[in-house]
Amino acid sequence: MRSRDFPGTVEAAADAEAWLASESGALGLAGDTTFAINLCVEELFLNAVKHGHANKATISIWTEPDGARLEFVDDGQAFDPTAAPAKRLQGPGTDFEIGGFGTGLVQKFTRRMTYRRAEGANRLVLEFDAGPNKNPDLRAVSAE
């Protein structure tokens, strides 16, 4: 397992994604999985910092025989993304509020999420499939 701490700033999301792209490459994860991991971390980071006012986040990544795991721990306000409704536009009308799509994306891009609140922190474990790489370009770009 590899872990790293990041400050609770929006800018740190990019550092976290760059670190994860490198780790994903080292773990040999498929491009699809790397894309999903990057997406989830960006959305979780935004939620934790902007809405949860987190001061720091710790990210850990490792693999199991059936896929990749990522733990996202933040010291922000309690928030369970597994219980939040997934927002999606319905129909072609323009009378809608823009925003709030991140949690739904995290739910859809993971195979399973497990949340617990412990010691004043949100602790979320995400499970990802590590199937065959369907799009080599994704991996090449993500590993830059």
Binding site: N38, E42, F96, I98, L105
Partner: protein, 122 residues
């Protein structure tokens, strides 16, 4: 993220994006996107060189789409890779804006719709 805006003789505005449409990418192009969405009559957004899209990027696209549709203008997205297209579909962006495999197909579809609308008016 790089953003290149061109206009064809047929009046189609092409916005070609290149890079990651993440937090930083969205911040880089938000202002220019808003300007284009206020002026363009037919807009094709080329995502073929966008390797990654997250919710803030979707937000930028949705704001532009909302502006253009309310103005009675036409907008489409082309060339999204598998992951990017999945994000667009999961957020319902495809309910608002058509997704096309390439810019030529998108421009042809929008131009045809615009001409059809004009012929009905006259």
């Amino acid at each position: 993220m790089d953003m290149n805006v061109t206009e064809t003789a047929e009046g189609v505005t092409h916005v070609a994006l290149d890079g990651r449409f993440d937090i930083a990418g969205a911040q880089e192009v938000d202002g220019r996107f808003a300007e284009v969405a206020e002026k363009a009559k037919i807009l094709v957004i080329d995502l073929s060189k966008v390797s990654f899209l997250a919710s803030l990027g979707v937000r930028t696209l949705m704001v532009s789409a909302k502006t253009m549709i309310r103005r009675g203008a036409y907008i489409a997205v082309a060339g999204a890779n598998e992951g990017v297209e999945k994000v667009l579909r999961l957020t319902g962006f495809d309910e608002l804006v058509g997704l096309y495999p390439d810019t030529a197909a998108a421009a042809a579809a929008l131009t045809s719709r615009a001409k059809e609308f004009e012929s009905r008016k006259s």
